[in-house]
């Protein structure tokens, strides 16, 4: 690798380190002037002419988390060894002179721009923001307008991430419930005067033992059942990401998928390795995108996993309500679940459509048993669920 030849005005270590932190900042690292000073201080404690040591020292100092830790070597090379300009495919003939303004390493945005192409393919009319260049702002303007588009058109990574984040927030707001009464606890904020008084009798009237109390947690449990049948095919990737977000928010959430059969996917969803969970899921999901039988799926659910339902459980059903089974069977299954679960909420991707009315027989049969029937057709709608749920 060829070392970068710096312009003659960038003399000395200080200038170049400043340039390097600038380069890192442009690539999204949270570094500022104090980090520059720290880097210089660090260099005085090591053998600063050994590239290996400098690399390790700066990595330790400037990388804040694992992602950047793994990416740091590339960023380092791109500044100190000109790798950035090499990957741009320019200036191979002669050594490129480092300009005062730090060069943004293009490769960093490789997967982002690929994501952009994907969304372009699925939505050919999105021409906006093309002229804004590769500075990250492009992506921001896009997500802004994507938020209002129907979920069918969105399958790129960022949408999935957003769906997951929306679910995560939603799950937290559903779960965080406190009881109104106070119970004894070891490190509550409030003193339990009645108990202190009573205990002080045994000590001759001195309040020696302090007791405390607080509102105990009354966490809601979430059980999500997602439809992955043919009619839901276009939504299923986003919904899977949504369900994954729900599941990953805590340890008690359960997730199920159904088409004609029902299967429990909680362990697969909880897998931290996203490639592996996709693999495990696709193994389980033969029949993905086939017909639907909501009634049978829910009956199986209440028979096999009925124990998952308690007085503190919220059941989320993600489905469009197109069902090949009989509506009576669905109604019966729901009425049984109704007795066990606290709330049943149906998230319907079609509900956001203009002119859609829930007239399908299955939905008609289900409606009397639901606490809420909400729209989940756009990312915005998914995000807005949090507010809706506080009203239920």
């Amino acid at each position: 690798m060829k070392a970068t030849r710096f312009p003659s005005r960038a003399k000395g270590v200080a200038d170049r380190i400043t340039g390097f932190t600038g380069h890192l900042r442009m690539n999204g690292l949270p570094v500022g002037p104090s980090e520059t000073a720290d880097s210089l201080a660090a260099l005085s404690h090591i053998n600063a002419v050994s590239p290996g040591e400098v690399r390790l020292a700066l990595k330790t100092l400037l990388a804040p988390n694992m992602d950047i830790w793994n990416r740091f070597d590339d960023l380092f090379d791109s500044y100190w060894y000109n790798a950035g300009s090499k990957r741009q495919g320019k200036a191979n003939e002669h050594v490129r002179v480092q300009s005062a303004r730090p060069v943004l390493w293009q490769n960093h945005f490789e997967n982002v721009s690929r994501g952009g192409e994907n969304s372009d393919q699925s939505a050919p009319d999105s021409g906006e923001g093309d002229s804004e260049g590769m500075d990250g702002r492009l992506i921001a303007t896009k997500t802004e307008s994507l938020a209002k588009r129907d979920l069918r058109e969105l399958t790129d990574e960022e949408t999935l991430k957003e769906a997951e984040a929306a679910a995560y927030r939603l799950a937290r707001s559903i779960r965080d419930c406190h009881s109104r009464r106070r119970k004894r606890s070891n490190n509550g904020l409030q003193l339990d005067l009645r108990r202190i008084n009573r205990a002080s009798l045994a000590r001759g009237g001195e309040p020696i033992d302090l007791f405390r109390r607080e509102h105990p947690d009354r966490q809601m449990r979430i059980v999500a059942i997602s439809d992955v049948s043919g009619s839901m095919n276009v939504y299923s990737r986003v919904f899977l990401a949504f369900v994954k977000g729900l599941v990953c928010s805590d340890r008690s959430t359960e997730a199920f998928l159904f088409h004609t059969r029902l299967m429990r996917v909680t362990p697969a969803m909880r897998d931290g390795d996203s490639l592996r969970w996709a693999g495990r899921l696709s193994l389980m999901a033969d029949g993905f995108g086939g017909g639907t039988d909501i009634g049978t799926a829910l009956t199986t659910f209440s028979e096999q996993y009925g124990k998952a339902l308690t007085g503190r459980t919220m059941l989320l059903i993600l489905s469009d309500g197109y069902c090949s089974g009989t509506p009576q069977r669905l109604a019966k299954a729901l009425s049984r679940i109704r007795k066990k679960a606290r709330k049943i909420v149906w998230l319907n991707p079609l509900l956001g459509w203009k002119g859609y009315a829930p007239v399908a027989a299955a939905i008609q049969a289900a409606l009397p048993y639901l606490d809420a029937h909400l729209s989940a057709s756009t990312i915005d709608a998914l995000g807005a669920l949090e507010a809706e749920f506080s009203n239920i």
């Binding site: 949270p30 980090e35 720290d38 201080a41 660090a42 404690h45 090591i46 290996g52 040591e53 390790l56 020292a57 990595k59 330790t60 100092l61 990388a63 804040p64 988390n65 694992m66 830790w69 793994n70 490190n187 001195e206 309040p207 020696i208 033992d209 302090l210 592996r276």
Partner: protein, 269 residues
């Protein structure tokens, strides 16, 4: 025994007097590093184990309320005395900054503590001082060497990360782990040691829920040598029974039946 990145991280944290945040999978010896540090520096190791609900009274200081009350009753102690040194219960953080020689402060599994506690830590870690409302601010007599460990239970705040040096520790490579085993169990036969490392390393590549860490590997080696086994290929049924040292969930032990072990041992030999 430390890889080059870790050695650099420790060197810098000593040189710059900055806390060091270590991340990595469970069982790679993050906690062990702090213990080794305190041995090398010949100072005390003060350990703060974090857990959900940890608050400042358990981590920093607390007034000995019962003793204060008795003092009022018995001697009619004045207020100045009551909020003095005598009635202060020092918890790990206060303990660490009031030592004469700088100790090693290990804040273990910081990601288990609540976010509020993380905010508390910021004052301690950036200025090495603690404010006690009744008596004033306690400044560190000597800066402790701070080591934080995290497992990724939740994401840490950027503010905390910025104040720390960072190092990611992964499972050691084949030769490194062999060195560790040799130094911890010097009596072990070289061939068996190589087999053990080979099997453990390939077990980590299997699809397991809980991958065996270094401590598990050492346990297993101790179990094998305790049972007088000197070749993994010989006593297959006994070896299979000793897997309880490595595989800690029922799903994992089901995932490694005799056939899989045969394959792994065959590859390691």
């Amino acid at each position: 025994m430390a890889g080059e990145p870790l050695a650099m991280a420790l060197h810098l944290s000593l040189a710059l007097q900055r806390p060091l945040l270590l991340e990595g999978p469970a069982g790679v010896g993050k906690t062990e590093i702090a213990k080794a540090m305190s041995e090398v520096l010949a100072t005390r190791l003060i350990r703060l184990q974090c857990y959900e609900g940890l608050d400042s009274s358990h981590a920093i200081y607390e007034w000995n309320y019962q003793r204060q009350l008795l003092a009022i009753r018995a001697d009619g102690a004045s207020e100045d005395e009551l909020f003095g040194e005598k009635y202060l219960l020092r918890r790990p953080l206060l303990e660490a900054i009031s030592q004469e020689t700088s100790p090693v402060l290990l804040i273990d599994e910081i990601d288990r503590a609540d976010e509020e506690f993380e905010a508390f830590l910021l004052e301690v870690l950036s200025d090495f001082q603690i404010t006690i409302p009744e008596t004033g601010t306690v400044r560190a007599k000597s800066r402790p060497v701070v080591i934080l460990t995290a497992n990724g239970t939740r994401d840490l705040s950027d503010a905390l990360r910025r104040r720390c040096l960072y190092s990611y520790i992964d499972y050691p490579g084949h030769s490194e782990e062999l060195e560790i085993l040799k130094s911890r169990a010097p009596g072990l036969e070289a061939r068996l040691a190589a087999q053990i490392i080979g099997v453990v390393q390939s077990l980590r590549r299997e699809d397991l829920e809980k991958k065996p860490g270094i401590a598990e590997m050492l346990d297993w080696a101790a179990a094998l040598s305790g049972l007088g086994i000197n070749d993994l290929g010989n006593d297959r049924s006994v070896v299979q029974a000793t897997l309880v040292c490595l595989l800690k969930t029922s799903a994992d032990s089901a995932a490694v039946p005799v056939e899989v072990m045969d394959r792994l041992i065959g590859r390691a030999a």
